[in-house]
């Protein structure tokens, strides 16, 4: 398991290759990359605040749950904080397993939990001001299926 919380950008392709190389015996590798979208138009900065100390702990706990539920060769989570811009990569998750279903399900589980159980908060700064992004009912409901 590898969990990284960082302000620096990361190279998703290089991370995917290193992860796949290290995941011995895996027949299936799934990755998810989250990218900053300029939804309303005019996004200046996407600020991501987090809770140092708790963040790594919360993510590791979510990964441990995934490892209990699925037979995973390895798991990678990278999540950035700080000032991001449109089209920047915010985070990535990768899962490796013998079978594709486990790799897909575990990646979706991780994403659903990272969305609303890891201590990150997004604030959108535009020329008109700044607003905290609201959590959505859909994100909360996504946890029900697990």
């Amino acid at each position: 398991m590898s969990v990284r919380v960082q302000s620096e950008p990361f190279d998703a392709g290089a991370e995917l290759n290193a992860f796949s190389m290290g995941a011995e015996g895996a027949g299936a590798v799934v990755s998810f990359t989250g990218i900053v979208r300029d939804i309303a138009g005019g996004l200046d900065v996407m600020e991501i605040e987090h809770y140092p100390g708790m963040t790594e702990k919360a993510i590791s706990g979510i990964v441990a749950q995934a490892q209990q539920r699925w037979d995973l060769a390895d798991v990678l989570v990278i999540h950035r904080y700080g000032a991001l811009h449109a089209n920047d990569q915010i985070m990535m998750v990768a899962t490796a397993s013998r079978h594709r279903v486990a790799a897909f399900e575990a990646a979706e589980f991780l994403m659903d939990y990272l969305k609303s159980r890891a201590p990150f908060w997004k604030k959108e700064h535009t020329k008109d001001g700044a607003d905290w992004v609201d959590a959505t009912d859909a994100d909360e409901k996504a946890l029900d299926r697990w």
Binding site: G34, E49, H50, Y51, G53, M54, K57, A58, H79, I90, M91, M111, L114, K115, S116, R117, A118, P119, F120, W121, K122, K123, W132, V133, D134, A135, D139, E140
Partner: protein
């Protein structure tokens, strides 16, 4: 003595990210009520607890959780990671 941390708009409403509080509160809710009674900015930040989440010693928990032995309590809105 307990460290109280605030994040996102809770931090902005309170006006600081962290403070150390002298309290004999038994539960998180007791602490919230003590804070609410202090100043308007606390009353405002804690006006709707359904819009808030709480972590005690960096573990998500509920507002009726006990504070015995806790060193750190954090208040924040629902998370929006990913």
């Amino acid at each position: 003595m307990i460290d109280v941390l605030y994040f996102a708009w809770v931090r902005e409403r309170i006006g600081e990210p962290k403070e150390t509080v002298e309290t004999s509160a038994v539960t998180v809710l007791d602490l919230v009520n003590e804070l609410r009674a202090r100043e308007e900015r606390y009353a405002l930040a804690f006006s709707d607890l359904s819009a808030l989440r709480v972590a005690v010693d960096q573990e998500l928990t509920e507002f009726d959780a006990p504070l015995a032995g806790a060193r750190e309590v954090a208040f924040f809105p629902p998370m929006t990671g990913g």
